[in-house]
């Protein structure tokens, strides 16, 4: 095939997740097509925009947080997904025109079991907001996505009825927790490390991160009475010089067997495709929330696509106030 001589650039967030993309999807793709993949890290909206605007696109395929995916989509920085190459299957989240989710992860509360017995740890978001009953320093994120959702849940909105988000109500709710937040965290690893170094007691964190920390031997545990499920997306920058190969690589990320293997490798991360569920190991399955449980919430990408900028600015402003 003509793809043989090529190489394409993959951009992800680095770390252990990326190691597994490389071992699974990318290795398989290279084996099949002979296309070399350069693994790079640091997906960044500004860099993406600059590349697209100046028609000098270095990246060919990138993984994106939901916020980044929404931004890239809105700014028209992504190629349309060629669903003739990517075989989309029945999934717990819908695919989109320019991007699709390929695994989920979920947010709850991380804490140090050495410092807090389980009954002193907030389980629901209402508990998390209740500093009297569950005293301790909180850690939240410094961005609007996910925070507005848990603020509404804490205020009593049923997890399945979050969207469209009632922003005013969410910010009112956030006002109540603000005095108890020791740090609004920018970098995901800090959701764990700040608990570890005793800067904070209860951190909004992701299950997969806690699992990884436990494997390192760090004293860390995780509860979530009201899990919030978020997806990681993948897409191809507009004007990619290797669009065809990139689409081909994307299709590997949509494959249920790949997603299942990934889910097994990193428990706490779940496949999107329903067909992948049966292939999960017992341990992996036990570490995933039940998507259909009434207490489980999903982030709605459509709402965020329309409201991301406004919500984000308002959140930053709220932080400063």
């Amino acid at each position: 095939r003509a793809l043989g001589a090529q190489q394409i650039v993959f951009v992800g967030y680095g770390g252990v997740n990326q190691e597994w993309y490389e071992k699974l999807m990318v290795a398989e793709f290279t084996k099949d097509t002979g296309v070399k993949v350069i693994m790079s890290s640091g997906p960044d909206l500004a860099k993406l925009k600059a590349q697209v605007m100046t028609k000098n696109v270095e990246w060919d395929i990138m993984t994106m947080s939901s916020g980044l995916a929404v931004g890239a989509e809105r700014e028209g920085l992504l190629e349309k997904v060629d669903y003739s190459v990517v075989k989309w299957q029945d999934s717990i989240q819908p695919s989109r025109e320019c991007t699709f989710p390929f695994y989920t992860y979920w947010g709850g509360v991380a804490f140090d079991p050495k410092r807090f017995p389980i009954d002193k740890v907030p389980k629901t978001w209402a508990d998390f907001w209740d500093a009297k009953k569950f005293p301790g320093r909180r850690g939240l994120r410094d961005r609007a996505d996910e925070m507005l959702e848990i603020a509404l849940m804490a205020d009593g909105v049923p997890p399945k009825k979050l969207f469209p988000l009632d922003m005013d109500r969410a910010f009112k709710s956030l006002d109540r927790i603000k005095p108890h937040v020791a740090k609004f965290i920018a970098q995901t690893p800090q959701t764990i490390s700040l608990v570890q170094t005793n800067e904070i007691d209860f951190s909004y964190a992701f299950a997969g991160r806690v699992d990884a920390a436990q494997k390192e031997g760090i004293s860390m545990d995780f509860v979530s009475g009201q899990p919030l499920i978020i997806s990681t997306f993948i897409g191809v920058p507009k004007g990619s010089k290797n669009r065809e190969a990139a689409m081909k690589l994307m299709s590997y990320f949509a494959r249920p067997d790949m997603q299942a293997a990934y889910g097994n490798a990193l428990p706490g991360n779940g496949p999107i495709a329903r067909a992948a569920m049966p292939m999960l190991s017992g341990k992996a399955k036990s570490m995933l929330p039940n998507a259909d449980d009434p207490q489980t919430a999903f982030v709605d990408m459509d709402w965020w696509a329309d409201n991301f900028a406004e919500a984000t600015k308002r959140y930053k402003q709220w932080l400063l106030g």
Partner: protein, 270 residues
């Protein structure tokens, strides 16, 4: 602040005044030194803890640094970029410093200010602008692009250092050589440059270290294959908490120590 000989009896007020001053100074010296004192023991801890003092003593972190290809590759890249921009800024800076010290021309003061402006303009602005511009001509991500971008930043330091050095090189020496029949190149080679060597060396060290430490511009301009060490550190802090940073920090502190010993030595003759 007082020049009276120690042994002359001072008024009580004078003595209290001096003691207060020395105490405050000692406190501030300690404050200034603390970070450097901290990172070194930290780097001998092990992989899991980020605590001071480290509970264990091991070389794990150094081993990880030296054997992980990603750290070594970025270090080599940083060495290359810092080395090249030091050389480039030395050449450019020497010519400019020579003009500024030895010649009088209209707009000299302005040029002086303009030369320093890359240091004075917030880096984030330069980084953003450079990125936009370099992408438009399609050279982002290349090592030469990094080198020139860093050179703009290091040149002012080189110019200032060389100007100070040149002020200590008596222009009469150049004059004398020329009157004795030496051409301009010969004067440069046999008189100016040998005498300027200490300043050139110091300027080179400063330029090297500044480029070696620079993160914001490199963060915008470099890509995977041209990533520098600080960028790797920065993204390490961002995406994975790796105590290897302590080891890297210790090595960088060592480098800083060398550079400031050199610049302290430089200040004595001045």
């Amino acid at each position: 602040m007082t020049n009276v000989d120690e042994r002359l009896s001072l008024t009580t007020a004078a003595r209290a005044w001096r003691r207060t001053g020395s105490t405050i100074a000692a406190f501030v010296y300690f404050f200034l030194l603390m970070p450097s004192l901290i990172v070194v023991p930290m780097s001998f801890g092990d992989k899991r803890e980020i605590m001071f003092p480290p509970g264990t003593f091991s070389l794990t972190l150094f081993r990880e640094y030296f054997f992980a290809s990603t750290w070594m590759a970025t270090t080599l890249q940083s060495l290359e970029v810092a080395g090249a921009s030091a050389i480039l800024s030395l050449v450019v800076g020497f010519l400019a410093a020579y003009a500024l010290v030895r010649y009088d021309f209209p707009g000299k003061r302005l040029l002086n200010l303009v030369l320093l402006s890359p240091v004075l303009v917030p880096v984030i602005i330069v980084a953003l602008g450079t990125y936009l511009y370099f992408s438009s001509i399609g050279i982002t991500g290349t090592t030469p692009a990094l080198i020139v971008a860093h050179s703009v930043h290091t040149t002012p330091f080189v110019v200032v250092t060389l100007m100070a050095g040149l002020r200590h090189v008596d222009p009469n020496l150049e004059k004398a050589a020329e009157i004795m029949g030496a051409g301009r190149i010969m004067v440069l080679r046999r008189v100016t440059l040998p005498l300027l060597m200490p300043a050139i060396f110091a300027g080179a060290m400063f330029a090297f270290l500044i480029s070696f430490d620079e993160v914001v511009i490199a963060w915008f301009i470099s890509n995977t294959s041209t990533q520098t060490l600080p960028v790797k550190m920065y993204s390490s802090i961002q995406w994975e908490v790796s105590p290897v940073i302590a080891a890297v920090s210790t090595l960088l502190t060592l480098l800083s120590l060398v550079v400031c010993l050199v610049s302290a030595a430089m200040q004595k003759p001045a």
